[in-house]
Amino acid sequence: MHMTKQFIVAHIIPTGVKADIGGYVGDATPATNMIAAIADKVISHPNVVNGVVLNLAKKNVLYVEGYSLDMFFKGEVELKEVERNRIGVVLDKGIEEEGYNLAMNTVNALRTVGGVEVVCLLKTKKEVLTRAVKTKSHSFVGEIAHEEVLIDTCRSAIKKGAQALAISLAIQIHMQDLKAYFAGKGANPYGGAEAIISHLVSAEFGLPAAHAPLLSKYEIYKETHSGTVDPRAAAEAIGPAYLGCVLRGLDRAPRLVVGGCGDVRVADVDAVVLPYTCMGGVPALAAQKWKIPIIAVKENTTVMKATPEVLKMKNVIVAENYWEVGGILAAMKEGIDPRELRRPVKKLAIK
């Protein structure tokens, strides 16, 4: 049977780098859904579409965790689409009852309203002890003291039938960083640590995974009593039920497979859309290797400085904003060289 080539785009916005679009909670969802209106499939990741209890990504957006995304771009795994996954939820030990109540109510809401299948809800044997670390460039990364405790609990969840893992750990942050973030003046302090947690679990088990912060009673109070916050963080201020978006995303997250039995391979990707200053991660570097066009979005500023120019990259189309991204992708899908839509036309010479 002849299959028409699908137009597949990856949309990547790294976590914890104060991206103007996508640096908050799910605020890159409209941009992602615009791309998904043009492309047959969009490969994206939790940071782009996770909106606390909301995950409003279109159905053709494939939810792939960062480490798995890196493996996919390196050509080490393929993506196999599924109708649904059975999800295991793993919670950190050591917070007050209010945090667990919020987590439990969120899980039950997604089960009863969303039809999500949750096979178990496990608590770690001791505190994993995760903390956010602010870098010199004001991005956030993370550190974990007892990752083996998390790994053991995830293993138990898999034994109970989990095909995907929703992790919710307490992350130690400084409250002034949260305040700056809510004011639109700082990166998401939870973001970098969350990425490390989900990278760890994906690396260990090769399953779809994502993380949602597990908040203390004090953090719940602070998040819901912060007044009118930056509009991009508003989903947090109305109720920090972070597990909601994760469960919705993992419900249909593609599985990682090898040996040619996947539905999507890196060779199928037609373009990668990234912030202009974020060319230094695996997706952009792998795109250079495989000669996949990169669309670098200038308006989506971050605290990073890895531009196409400083890294001397080729095959990069610079878009001023997501409006231009839409036009460039529409041209590419139609087989039109996007440069032919601009003036002046580059002159060719016979040599």
Partner: protein, 73 residues
């Protein structure tokens, strides 16, 4: 445990198509532990500034693997 730090890597005039392999080789040759996540955050002359998060074994984990006991066990 998992720790995060900033390192520098000489680019050595490596082309962008080979940059991923160049960085991975640097990790393999110089980093003790599994690099879970990295990103070039910028450049400084001929070097790349890179943030990395690495899974390393602490002394307790190493002792446990060897079947040993910590002093206070």
């Amino acid at each position: 445990m998992i720790v995060s730090k900033r390192i520098t890597i000489r680019r050595d005039k490596v082309k962008s198509e080979q940059l991923l392999e160049h960085i991975q080789k640097h990790f393999k040759d110089t980093i003790d532990g599994d690099v879970l996540r990295f990103a070039i955050i910028g450049t400084n002359g001929a070097t790349l500034d890179v943030d990395i998060s690495v899974r390393v074994e602490d002394s307790a984990q190493k002792a446990k693997k060897r079947g040993g006991r910590r002093a206070h066990d």
